[in-house]
Symmetry: C2
Subunit: 109 residues, 2 copies
């Protein structure tokens, strides 16, 4: 399983922002969803997740509000802001650019 590394450095913000375009979600659910959608390949550790969420909130890309989760507990739900949507576009474009460039090299004859 995911031995060598759980994430590609620099992509966590992108993954979180993208996941929040679907629905407002609390941190725990974001991590679960990333893991699930990636086929258990990507693992978001809590020590990466929460600092990242705070970072994104501080940048104004997401906003938090407390609400009741599916299990009936209080949880911090995050919503994407307009600026966050822009940031997501920029990060997605950058990821495309870089990953395509890397693939050019890796798949050289």
């Amino acid at each position: 399983m995911g031995k060598p590394s759980d994430l590609v450095q620099g992509t966590l913000d992108l993954l979180i922002l993208k996941t929040l375009t679907l629905d407002p979600m609390h941190g725990w659910a974001i991590a679960k969803r990333i893991q699930q959608v990636s086929g258990e390949v990507l693992q978001v550790q809590q020590g990466s997740l929460y600092p990242a969420l705070h970072r994104l909130e501080q940048q104004g890309w997401i906003k938090a509000r407390w609400a009741e989760s599916e299990t009936g507990r209080q949880a911090k739900f995050y919503v994407l802001t307009a600026a966050g949507r822009k940031q997501l576009e920029a990060e997605a474009a950058n990821w495309s650019r870089l990953s395509a460039a890397i693939n050019l090299i890796v798949s050289e004859a």
Copy 2:
């Protein structure tokens, strides 16, 4: 140009190893080649390049020997070792796995 970042963290070893499958090359040429093949998207700074080369050599994945470069100067040429070839395969597989997983998320409807 490459404003947001010059590389994706964790991929430099892969890029170097892959580049060395073509020909033995000196560091400067490796950086130039990565930049060129990637369409000027990936930029390898010297401060990343040389430490990476030393790291790879210490791991036994590449071997160095001094020789004359195309310009007639002395340069350190690196060759891929058998272990390096294995490492390249592992890193390439890992990159495929992770980038595919990220793309699953990024390209969600």
